[in-house]
Symmetry: C2
Subunit: 299 residues, 2 copies
């Protein structure tokens, strides 16, 4: 069975639809790759592509997109609400099927090397591909943004993983790495009190002592006038969805508040939800790879 | 995206491994088809093949297997514990992906017609393909078995759907139809009292007033000395797994008995479990086809 890898490159262009459509055309032309989705945010001036493909195809498509982006996007002229440091800002590789995290890390390094050698863009390896702890977190890597990168690259601890200590004049710096699939999972509370959502979010957040692979904030859903715990589940194996859901349920009880419902935004691997069914139905000895019919059909 | 159809033919041969292996070879040789599994039961003297393929491949493989079975299996010499009426006893077609039940019914009728025309085996259409209510149930169609078929075919209401009122001399009669995927789902109770499992099974069974698409019996798991509600879920959309699970939970409470766990035996479509996660996590507006990543990858 072919290995399947997801790649979610972020480009610093969300206003010029000609460029975005050309990126999509490039992606569609690469053999062994499917373009699942792409969307642009004009206020962020940024586009996110979701691709999936085999081991070779996913490397080819990533490089081809970065090459074109480096030719047409000039960061010196870029304005937008989202932090960014490169024409291609960040490229995560994600294991989907019959592929290990280690293999995705290898892929990320191969692509990083090629981008640097052929396009002279310096690369930081981040997340699972990071060489040191302080490069794991993308926000830390990107701090200073495009404008601050020339100076940051001179700092002792910020030599690029590939390339010299100078930015590409127009394409800046790119972060390349491997990570688990990210699931946007929100839980709605039967209250208009955002403080409750914020308190529960703090309990859940790995960074404040909660679940290691959960990022969480409390927000208001203005249209419905209810508070929501909005989460990014960055490793559904390490922190399954049901665990945060049940924790929200029992923490909200302290305030006499119930859960109204939840939302999964965008794509999710089937396994993240099947794992929850396994928990709630108390299924013994379930073998996801062997027992789920569709797993035998993926080419 | 290609339509994906499952086919689960049952053959009246489970002892001669040469014949079974040759059936497997035939299945592996058909283009557009994957042989997911095959297993033989020597006491039943019967083999079950699980195949999946596109619209054309699945018809080709079904016909090729039936043709070979009709050449090498002689029902006059068949002995075994399982009811049977044909060399190929029954051929269900099952919608898996991007295919409707109506299309699977059409496929079943095309294959049935070809088997009859080219091999002179009379066919009963059963389950969703059945022309009348009393042909839906396979047990009713097969009643009388191979030995009783010559006489049964003479009865007013038992003219075959394809073919004349006489059996194939060695290959008998075959049932062909379309049905939903079947999931074997068992729930273990914290009791050694089989009567409780039997009472709950009766509550669940469609045939005794329970859920329409649930077949259930109470059995003992001798090795663990616990009682089990053993179910065949014949349409997980009509009767989802969580509904029987929660019903067992609240019915068992009457006796002060808890659920120990459950088992899914063999294959299940991912959607049957994702539907359960949707229920327990109270996910609002989840779109299975669009939001599950793997659905974009199936060829």
């Amino acid at each position: 069975m072919a290995k399947l890898i997801e790649c979610v490159p972020n480009f610093s262009e969300g206003r010029n639809q000609e460029i975005v459509e050309h990126l999509a055309e490039i992606a569609r032309d690469v053999k062994g790759v499917t373009l699942l989705d792409y969307s642009s945010d004009t206020s962020h001036n940024r586009s996110v592509f979701t691709l999936v493909g085999d081991e070779n195809g996913i490397q080819d498509v990533a490089f081809s997109l970065v090459k074109y982006a480096s030719e047409v996007i000039d960061l010196n002229k870029h304005e937008g609400g989202h932090p960014r440091m490169g024409a291609t800002d960040v490229i995560p590789f994600v294991p989907i099927k019959d592929v290990t995290m280690e293999e995705c890390i290898e892929i990320s390094k191969k692509v990083a090397k090629k981008i640097n050698e052929e396009l002279q863009i310096p690369i930081f390896l981040y997340e699972e591909s990071a060489a040191t702890q302080n490069r794991k977190n993308l926000a830390k890597v990107r701090k200073g943004q495009f404008e601050g990168m020339p100076e940051k690259l001179q700092q002792e601890e910020w030599a690029p993983d590939f390339g010299e200590r100078k930015i590409h004049p127009t394409a800046g710096v790119t972060a390349v790495g491997a990570r688990m699939p990210l699931i946007a999972f929100n839980v709605n509370l039967d209250t208009d009190n955002i403080d409750v959502a914020k308190k529960i979010a703090k309990i859940l957040r790995g960074s404040s002592g909660g679940f290691k692979y959960c990022k969480a904030i409390g927000v208001m859903l203005e249209g419905r006038n209810i508070a929501q715990v909005s989460m990014n589940m960055v490793n559904y194996e390490g922190t399954p969805l049901y665990r945060t859901f049940e924790t929200i349920r029992f923490e909200a009880k302290r305030y006499g508040i119930n859960i109204l419902g939840s939302e999964v935004i965008g794509l999710t691997p089937a396994q993240a939800l099947v794992d929850c069914a396994e928990y709630y139905l108390q299924i013994e000895d379930f073998d996801y790879d062997k027992q789920v019919l569709e797993n035998h059909l993926l080419s």
